[in-house]
Subunit: 174 residues, 2 copies
């Protein structure tokens, strides 16, 4: 089972791919703030499409957005999140023999959403863990011995959260 | 000059096309709430792509999103807005001889954003006009003698706002 986790953002979209709890790929898609928003969204969309084509994930995990966030940031994240979800919906459609998810009902890659608390709980055992703790546990759980950019680490955290959910665990560190 | 105005939303995305201040096309793209969000975004994206291909607009006008809105609704609108802007960025790229905007710096359709107040001001002369007044003035200004759905009327209002801006008018009813 190959899972891609995505942490969307207009300036930085993190992604991380895990297969049987090993990390096979991670990175951050950056877009320059002096470009028009539609050009930045296009960059994110095409990069995600390429990553999906290369990594051939079975499922996609992404954080659910909440009220409590800063509204301006929620608006920016949602624009990026929209094109990431579109890339998931487009994945494998129209091409023969490519991987397709089971959850969306009309083709595409199955998408699973988790709250920020569920993600933190899954990788640190606490829903109130800070970013540093999440980053530390992600590298420990996946046996990564290099520094991961925070956005990639958040993406891997949501992928791990989904892997736990699929295997019936309630916490990733149990 | 052909201008398309778009009023994005996850459940209903209104669109309206004007050419020399005559309405040539309007409508509402609806997506069912029981479908996964990625499927709904895919529907909006492909419908907008088809409308752009059919109407061949020179420019796209869309409302800017603001803090004051309800956060949950802002998140939903932003997802839809993201795929609409992506369709604008993709428009005409890679195909020969199709129309392309001038504003985005790297191909695609030029996008212009206006605040809700600018739009209301442009079509009614007051930034504090209500939806009904906007709808009434849009039909009057464009000489439409049928009932327009509110989402299409809002889309036509932002297209009219942009037409005024381009012609140097500060208010659409002057």
């Amino acid at each position: 089972m190959i899972i891609i986790g995505i942490d969307p953002g207009l300036a930085k979209t993190g992604f991380g791919v895990i297969e049987d709890r090993r990390c096979t790929e991670y990175g951050v898609i950056k877009t320059p703030s002096d470009e028009p928003i539609q050009t930045r969204l296009r960059t994110i969309f095409h990069r995600i499409q390429k990553i999906l084509d290369t990594c051939e994930p079975d499922e996609l995990a992404i954080e659910r957005l909440f009220f409590s966030r800063n509204v301006t940031s929620a608006i920016e994240v949602s624009h990026a999140r929209g094109v990431v979800l579109l890339a998931a919906a487009e994945y494998g459609i129209g091409s023969v023999g490519s991987a397709g998810g089971s959850g969306s009902g009309s083709g595409g890659l199955a998408v699973f959403e988790y709250t920020p608390n569920q993600v933190k709980q899954a990788v640190t055992g606490s829903g109130r863990a800070d970013k540093k703790q999440v980053q530390k546990m992600v590298t420990a759980l996946l046996g990564i011995d290099e520094n991961i950019p925070p956005d990639a680490s958040d993406a891997l955290a949501v992928a791990l959260c989904h892997a736990n959910q699929m295997s019936g665990q309630t916490s990733g560190i149990v």
